[in-house]
Symmetry: C2
Subunit: 668 residues, 2 copies
């Protein structure tokens, strides 16, 4: 018998009744229009509403049991998606909000890389015939695959990969080897037990001469029995912090032979006689990474909004510590220090979602440019996708942690799901470009841009402010407006870029190589990059709120967005105050007024906090949280979840009889 | 057949050969002398060296299997400890370094609270007869117990606890009830299935009049069958983020009757006729919390040193990305940005360990004072234990995360153990006083101290600097010495305290109640508290390095400690630069010289980084990490651990045959 009330917790209802806007209006804005919101909800209805409960118990399961559940779950999901595609004529990835898929596979998807990346990789890197053969087999799942790039001893530095493919003139084959333990392929999602093929990037050798990296389609398991093929050593790498069901694998290859035609040959080729034709365009591979980083920004910003929803709803339901003694305990959302934990993360998730939208527009423009052979904006696009990936993942990781702590002890329950979100996001700081490595790349891009600025050249649009800001070393007149707040951040960024450049030059002058000087200037390079990214995010948020907007908005919604922007701008300037004060000597009164504005903006967001989160429109299955459900029946859900714990199946577990009781009676 | 070499990784050996000090000298200093180090190693030898392997596989196990393993593991450990106590005549808790116990029970200990807290609680809160009855039974384990304070709906605010104990005049019993779902006891470690008794803090009612909180010894499971007793609803609360084997439980009580003599009556009593005698000393309960917070500081600082050891050794072994192109990939510890991740956390763990030592001296002094009826230093002691608990746990949580990310993808493997350390530390920010709640308490203590300073009264020694710093609003002459760096932090703290006080007063003046004003000044109160704590930590570190020291040190060790202090002081001042610049307008050249000093101090620590970590002297079993073992055979260990993954037991898992293959053949 369920203890769950059918009603909404009255404290939460009160929040909804008293807000200045309706959640629906926010939801329409957040999801980019009524149509898109409708499609999202329709998908959720069909995919999430009648899924099995099994996978939702995954925190209690063993590593092996989670994998079993994830495979079964994936098959159900794939069938549903196939039905929907046929029935509704849906197509494309954009229409599938990733949050729907998370909700359907909370422990992760062992075939996510297969579906999301390998098929696309074969399409882009393979010839049309290759796509016909391998790509189609992937689409129908007769072939399941992984993308096996990273090695046990090699990650970031691709040229260092040890796996080699030697061309055998006699048999017209490649012979693949992972000659050392450190060259074992390590980490690829789904490679452990789920894939029967891998895309293997390896160094191509012809007559023992290295021709650089190429990609090979390598069968690893028998198409009938699924047993590993001769020369193949494959398995699961063992438990990770998160992504429990993803089946990350290892792969050793010993003289594994594949036909020459299994090398993906759209851009570079090996002919029958061993002639190697170099790819004319390296830029395309590079551009796929840009695309993936865009998606990471969107996904991770969404995950932050999920955590914010869970913590905010819980904070409206949870009552703790009276503010005035002898009065009842208040909703914890009324403690100012609690608001300081919740609302800035809400604003951050909005800021990064908006930055994603802007980034994605730029991506689409650049894609068009590339089709027309125009590559000039590519460095800018690349560095922007890098810095936003870094900032969004690191901000979210820190933010989810703050939000977890904001839920006190109950945030630590697996059933709160904030921990699970944290573990997912925690991986995103490392994959698809380790954050520090990316920051250094962006730092180097800033150095180049700055050098161009000094030479009087025109800068790319998103770094143009460096030029203006260099001229205007400080703000002439501080009014504290949003525009001023942005400008002061830009001036601080220009200043940081300037001194980083000076230090780099000084090191070169002192005789260091370019690489040594860059390493020794590394800390400042990463700081400049971070500031640069922040300026983009702040500018985008400011533009969304104050610029012209395509769809009409009620004054009430405008006000709410303004409150969030105010909170974001003030928080950001306070966070970087140590940089700001180096370029503009704000008076003590001005600094104190920023603190007051921070406090006031928290209070301004307070009445709408719950409906803003409602407006993120996360399905309960997606939140998968005892603390964050729409109805706010928190304690009842925690209680029911505890009752389901496998340890409670019997009044006294077996180990008590076999071990604990005899020990207790032994009179130690 | 093990792949593990019997030799030390040559990169790690080189680090040890080329360091400026021997690890042993650092270890003797760190552990407080040769004798203490010897005892620690002796314990490790006996406790850790021949433990079973089972529990080390816990990340692969289900929630239930982990519990079973933890129970078996605990029994073995308890027997060993008992043997050692008899054999070596060891006694006291201080001699048992907690790290030895972590190493022995990596998934957590379901009877940790029983051993570490309940017995002590009965000794302090119970009469001598009660200790004879209950305490002794606990010591021999015929009685196993949990401490059941927190409720599902009530944590921080103790007076809000709903559990009640009504005195029944007729039967001379107490009748215990948890009348609502929110009053269920929730979270106590070991309460799920392991304990047959609980210490239950509940509101005491006599003739329906509340007399305040008292503690009751409540049997919850049958002493013979271990089945829950009538009226008792008890079980495990379900999976948590960490502490997998701790068996946190829930407890509902419905008209559970216990003899009147089961109330712990050393300080307050209920007589047979229902007369209630109030405790004359509330201070003692309070003082136990102080003690526990001291231990948390020590434990968590130790955990940070564990994570630093793992990440630093890995960074010496891992090679990635050449610094100069066409040269081999370098040890990642040679990247400046990597040093920036590793070494400050090393310095932090040392800083907090030293702060603990100082705090513990103060604790012992205060304990003596209390025995002589002298309570004047108690508020200071209390607030110091609070702020160090907060700073150490939050610094460590952030630091462990940085260190995990510093290990790239492999840091995300469960077998790296950094994730497990993170999850443990992540709980410490909440338990034994939620960090924000504690910060607010310390903030209020600062307000009181500041008021006293304004009134010309003498301040407690650890806040005395507020008085001096108030007078000296800015540094007259900046030399950049360590003493200057500390002084500037103190002046910034005094300034923050001053403006917080002003804002609080302004709100009171505007008609807010004291509680409302405190809530509205909450953010600044927490900031002032944080700064205050940092000043204590910095002053302690400075004193250790530059002050007189009891035991002789080699000049080389002094130099190493000086390097670490320099790094700590510079990092700290840079972190709080936004506050520093408000009280002292450092010139741009002065700020840039701090940045240079940061970079130089990283380089100065570099050659000794590995031996410093060796000097923390963590047993391999304690680190429990494929990345951090003493011999540095990282890849071989990761490889062996992967091979042990249960999913790899058979070449093709069952679920492939039953589910995945049929799906792959279905031609979706």
């Amino acid at each position: 018998m369920s203890l769950l009330p059918k009603t909404v917790n009255p404290d939460l209802q009160k929040e909804r009744d008293n807000a200045s806007i309706k959640a629906e209006e926010f939801a329409v804005w957040w999801h980019g229009g009524k149509d898109r919101l409708k499609i999202k909800r329709d998908l959720e209805l069909h995919i999430l509403d009648d899924l099995d409960e099994d996978i939702y118990r995954f925190p209690n399961l063993s590593h092996e049991e989670i994998y079993n559940a994830a495979i079964k779950d994936f098959i159900k999901l794939a069938k549903k998606i196939q039905e929907l595609k046929v029935e509704r004529n849906y197509d494309g990835t954009d229409i599938w909000p990733s949050s729907v898929l998370w909700g359907a596979m909370p422990a992760g998807n062992p075939l996510a890389v297969h579906c999301g990346m390998v098929i696309e990789c074969i399409r882009i890197q393979g010839t049309d015939e290759q796509f016909e053969k391998f790509g189609k087999a992937c689409q129908s799942f007769s072939m399941t695959s992984a993308y096996a790039q990273t090695e046990l001893g090699h990650g970031t530095f691709i040229r260092g990969l040890e796996t080699r493919a030697d061309f055998d003139h006699h048999t017209d084959e490649f012979v693949l080897n992972t000659p050392t333990i450190s060259s074992y392929k390590w980490w690829p999602g789904g490679m452990g037990q789920s894939a029967n093929h891998c895309i293997v990037p390896a160094n191509l050798y012809i007559d023992n001469v290295c021709k650089g990296l190429a990609m090979f389609v390598v069968p690893i398991r028998d198409m009938e029995t699924h047993a590993p093929l001769p020369g193949v050593d494959v398995g699961d790498i063992g438990k990770r912090m998160g992504f429990a069901g993803v089946n990350n694998g290892y792969l050793g290859l010993k003289n594994v032979r594949i036909p020459r035609t299994n090398m993906l040959m759209r851009h570079s080729q090996v002919h029958r006689d061993g002639t190697f034709v170099q790819s004319p365009v390296s830029v395309l591979t590079y551009f796929t990474m840009v695309y993936i980083r865009c998606l990471i920004v969107r996904n991770v910003a969404t995950q932050l909004s999920m955590a914010a929803t869970i913590a905010t709803r819980y904070s409206a339901v949870r009552r703790q510590s009276p503010i005035n003694p002898n009065e009842p305990e208040v909703q914890i959302i009324d403690h100012l220090t609690q608001q300081k934990k919740l609302f800035p993360e809400m604003a951050n998730s909005i800021a990064y979602k908006l930055a994603f939208t802007k980034l994605y527009q730029l991506y689409e423009t650049t894609s068009q440019d590339i089709k027309h052979g125009e590559f000039s904006r590519l460095p800018e696009m690349h560095s922007l996708s890098c810095i936003l990936k870094v900032l969004c993942t690191s901000t979210t990781m820190a933010g989810v942690d703050i939000l977890r702590l904001a839920c006190g002890g109950h945030g630590y329950l697996s059933s709160s799901n904030i921990g699970n979100i944290y573990l997912d996001v925690g991986a995103s700081c490392t994959y698809e470009g380790e954050n520090t490595v990316l920051l250094l790349q962006v730092g180097r891009f800033l150095m180049k841009s700055y050098r161009s600025a000094l030479a009087g050249k025109k800068l790319a649009p998103t770094v143009a402010y460096l030029q203006n800001a260099v001229k205007e070393k400080s703000l002439c007149h501080w009014t504290g407006s949003w525009e001023d707040l942005l400008k002061i951040l830009q001036i601080a960024t220009a200043h940081k870029t300037h001194i980083t450049y000076e230090n780099l030059m000084a090191r070169l002058k002192a005789g260091q190589t370019e690489a040594e000087a860059a390493n020794n200037t590394g800390i400042e390079l990463t700081q400049a990059a971070e500031l640069h990214g922040i300026c983009f995010v702040a500018a985008t948020f400011l533009e969304e709120v104050t610029g012209p907007h395509s769809k009409p908005r009620s004054p009430a919604l405008n006000k709410v967005l303004g409150n969030l922007l105010e909170l974001f701008m003030i928080s950001t300037v306070l966070k970087y105050m140590h940089e700001v004060l180096r370029v503009h000597k704000l008076s003590e009164a001005e600094i104190r007024s920023l603190q007051t504005r921070l406090e006031d903006s928290l209070k301004a967001v307070r009445p709408d906090a719950v409906v803003i989160c409602d407006g993120f429109d996360h399905h309960d299955r997606n939140l998968f949280s005892t603390l964050g459900s729409y109805d706010g029946n928190v304690y009842e859900r925690i209680f029911e979840e505890a009752k389901r714990c496998p340890l409670n199946k019997q009044p006294v577990p077996e180990v008590i009889h076999t071990h604990l009781k005899p020990f207790m009676k032994s009179n130690l």
